[in-house]
């Protein structure tokens, strides 16, 4: 089987290389021959998906059948490992995850190439760009990080999967994150192709809008699942530690978010064309940088894999991408001239511009902090550590400014906003947020206590501003339709949303982000207490009393565990029983905590079993009260809901789609690219 896997990888490389080379030929020759060659490139690209799928299946089969003759399976699986985690072995190590990257990319490429009729020329060039990226990853898995390396001697059992990864969410988190990372390849390929072909208009944006949104959604889910996993498994009471690998996932998310906003400017007003092209270039490069940071070990991280030789490959690839992007831009930049200009600083356009700027500033802050240790090593000869306190101080003011823009942006008019309109739109949200600011003080949010309280207070106040501005948008539009359609306000708001899913789905996304921000702001009020607890002992934290009832030990093929049964009382009243656990995995000899969490909208009572005191033998229990954590998860679910809504076509649009006429075919300024309506044949 390993030989079959190797064969599949080599064959896939040959197909991708052909697809790339034939794609270039098809791009250069714009005649019938070029068109036919490009068609063979497309088919080779489709075939490469099936071949890479074969390689991935071989690795999964090897994991399921405990084939420890394969070094990768030996290192990342063992006989006692439950079946779902054996499947997860595909992406739990470096070689497997790179194969997984290549497979997902081939999958995206497959969908793109099958749906080529949407615009054959543009898809052909985009397919060529994707094939180029595929070649890089296939070179990597064939010659530098081959997952089918064979052991000279077959071991009886494997080393097992990292116990921290043996958690249900960990089976979903990496694929989600990778779907996000890899997905940005598609809009990148379209943007680069459109630029190289001097493609007229924003058609590449229309084609890739859903791709980008789905990709962004995957990345959002991936980041959120990672945060939830950290919260539920790592047992330190938090969900985001500003670790370099966490930051790596945030970078393309921030620039991708900026892109999703700024493309609206191009779609609507024909502006920011250069900005949009570079935003998606940067987003893709940050995805590659993220993979480099995760996989190469160039920065210290609790997640990073051992230092490996793939770093130079990624540096070279990033350099090639950068050079290609710059060259394409310099050659074709005149094609990207804006059709309109900003008319006022107080307008929707400028709010988009500032929103983009702040998102990119956040991205730059995270990037500079993440890479500063490397810079420090070059300049000073030693790596310093840049951790959570730095990022919190830098990112919180930027984040607050972003929340403010989220509130203000939708209330501004396109082109120019008059003072009267400002007063009218802002009066209610401003008054409400002032009332919230005052009401928070008796509730215990005292901004004068320390910086953490001040930031939390500001977050709550600005969140109130955003929520009110979103609500006022729904209510204002709902009232108009209520009268028109002779329905009630909620009916009006429903019809309003159905008629404009993209806009109102976007507002729901904003609402979700604000809920998440409220959840994050709750961190300022975290409490924790650690105590040795024998049977019958009590631990008091906040209004909660924990009573140690029973302590047990267990032993199975995969791990040994110690667990506690703790009764929880709140203000003297019995609430629930919690069961924190600590496991010691046999194959890897690593320990993990299984957190017990009593979660409400107000706060989480988060309890971990730290182990036994070696002197007394008594269990040590650590309890945290983490306020508002659930708001973060609900916020993420709301973001998912809003993005899903924005992906659904409008009700009116379903009835009357945009008519594409044959006269729409246009010749590009210099590239000779023709744009044909969907389904039209040459």
């Amino acid at each position: 089987m390993p030989l079959l896997g190797d064969f599949c990888l080599l064959f896939a490389l040959a197909l991708a290389a052909y697809s790339f080379a034939a794609g270039i030929l098809g791009f250069i020759r714009k005649d019938e021959v070029g068109f036919r060659v490009a068609e063979t490139a497309r088919r080779a690209g489709i075939a490469s998906f099936f071949v890479i799928t074969g390689a991935a299946l071989v690795l999964v089969w090897a994991a399921l059948n405990n084939d420890f003759s394969i070094a990768y399976i030996l290192q990342h699986s063992n006989r006692a490992l439950p079946t779902p985690y054996k499947l997860a072995a595909l992406w739990s190590g470096q070689e497997g995850s790179l194969l997984f990257w290549a497979w997902l990319l081939a999958g995206y490429g497959f969908v793109l190439r099958v749906r080529h009729k949407v615009d054959k020329r543009l898809v052909a060039t985009s397919s060529m760009v994707l094939a180029g990226i595929q070649v890089f990853f296939l070179l990597l898995v064939n010659f530098e990080a081959n997952p089918f390396g064979i052991m000279s001697r077959v071991a009886a059992d494997g080393n097992g999967l990292n116990p921290l990864l043996q958690y249900p969410e960990m089976v979903i988190h990496p694929p989600m994150l990778y779907l996000g990372y890899v997905g940005f390849s598609v809009p990148f390929a379209f943007a680069l192709s459109a630029l190289m072909m001097r493609y007229p208009g924003e058609k590449w944006i229309h084609i890739t809008r859903r791709w980008t949104m789905v990709t962004w959604l995957f990345l959002t889910c991936g980041i959120a699942l990672g945060a939830h996993w950290a919260y539920a498994v790592l047992g330190w009471g938090g969900y985001w530690g500003w670790d370099p690998v966490e930051n790596a996932s945030l970078l393309p998310w921030l620039s991708g978010t900026a892109f999703l906003h700024s493309v609206m400017m191009q779609e609507k007003r024909g502006m920011m064309k250069v900005w949009n092209v570079w935003l998606i270039f940067v987003t893709f490069m940050l995805s590659i940088l993220g993979t480099l940071l995760t996989r190469s070990g160039i920065v210290q991280s609790v997640h990073a894999f051992a230092e490996s030789a793939i770093g130079p490959w990624f540096y070279a690839f990033l350099m090639i991408i950068f050079v290609v992007c710059v060259a394409a831009f310099i050659k074709n930049r005149k094609h990207l001239q804006s059709e309109n200009k900003l008319e006022s600083l107080v307008s929707r356009e400028s709010s988009f511009l500032f929103n983009n700027l702040v998102l990119l500033a956040a991205c730059f802050a995270v990037l500079s902090g993440t890479l500063f240790p490397i810079l420090s090593e070059w300049v000073r000869g030693y790596k310093i550590t840049v951790g959570a306190p730095f990022f919190n101080k830098v990112m919180l003011p930027i984040g607050l400014f972003l929340i403010f823009l989220t509130a203000v942006g939708p209330l501004l008019a396109w082109r120019n906003t008059s003072l009267g309109s400002l007063k009218k739109n802002f009066a209610i949200p401003a008054i409400f947020s002032v009332l919230v600011a005052i009401a928070l003080i008796p509730l215990g949010v005292k901004p004068w206590l320390d910086v953490a309280h001040l930031y939390s207070w500001l977050t709550f106040v600005l969140s109130a501003l955003v929520i009110t501005s979103i609500a006022s948008e729904f209510i204002r539009g709902g009232r108009v339709l209520k009268d028109k359609l002779n329905t009630n306000l909620f009916g009006g708001m429903y019809h309003l949303t159905r008629r404009n899913m993209r806009r109102y789905g976007g507002y729901i996304v904003h609402f979700g982000v604000i809920l998440a921000c409220i959840g994050i702001a709750g961190q300022a009020f975290n409490q924790s207490k650690e105590q040795e607890m024998a049977q019958g002992d009590k631990l008091q934290i906040g209004a909660y009393t924990l009573v140690g009832q029973e302590y047990t030990e267990d032993d199975n093929a995969n791990y040994q565990s110690q667990a506690g049964l703790l009764d929880v009382y709140k203000n003297g009243k019995y609430l629930t029983r919690l069961n924190p656990e600590r496991r010691q995995y046999k194959a890897s000899n690593q320990g993990t905590t299984i957190v017990a969490d009593y979660s409400t909208l107000k706060e989480d009572l988060y309890v971990i079993y730290e182990g036994n005191n070696p002197d007394t033998g008594h269990p040590i229990i650590k309890a945290f009260i983490n306020p508002l954590v659930n708001w973060l998860w609900i916020g993420v679910l709301t973001v998912v809901l809003g993005t899903g809504m924005a992906l659904i076509p409008n009700a009116a649009q379903l009835k009357s789609p945009v008519k594409l006429t044959a006269t729409a075919a246009v010749e590009s300024a210099g590239g000779g690219a023709s744009m044909r309506p969907a389904g039209a044949r040459k």
Partner: protein, 157 residues
């Protein structure tokens, strides 16, 4: 509107001026800037390893240093103690002087520069003849006009 703005400014000013008030959690604050050196990758006060070879000693030293500098509230002295004792990577916050100051300046310099450029670009555009003449739409083919019209509808009522 003016009253609301004044109230907001006043609230922000009050909050900011009180921000520097006495902080009772100096030990927790400093403990959250120091990393446990046992290899767990966690902050000193969050290290949950039973039998951790270093955290108990480091926590004791943190208590001693916080007490020793109570009169001056010199946080840098405490952090420098840990840098010297346990290595520069122990403290997870860059220094606010010398080369490491760049880490603090870079993000805000980037934001400030970006803001400045946006304002300059907007004012330049504002004064340009195209803007003064109002909407100067470039003639697009009907298909693209239709797509743009759809985008307009999808992003506004």
């Amino acid at each position: 509107m003016k009253v609301v703005t004044r109230v907001l400014v006043l609230l922000l000013f009050t909050a900011s001026s009180l921000m520097a008030a006495e902080n009772t959690g100096r030990y927790e604050r400093l403990g959250s800037k120091i990393m446990c050196t046992c290899g767990c990758g966690q902050m000193l006060l969050q290290c949950n390893h039973i039998g951790c070879p270093n955290s108990a000693t480091m926590i004791r030293q943190l208590h001693e240093q916080v007490d020793a500098t109570a009169a001056t509230n010199d946080d840098d002295a405490v952090l420098n103690f840990f840098r010297t004792q346990w290595g520069v990577t122990t403290v997870v916050e860059p220094n606010r002087h010398g080369f490491e100051l760049i880490a603090w300046i870079l993000p805000f310099a980037g934001l400030g520069l970006g803001m400045f450029l946006v304002v300059v670009v907007v004012y330049r555009w504002h004064g340009s003849p195209a803007a003064a003449a109002g909407e100067a739409e470039i003639k697009l083919d009907p298909h693209l006009q239709a797509l743009r019209e759809r985008a307009r509808k999808e992003t506004e009522i």
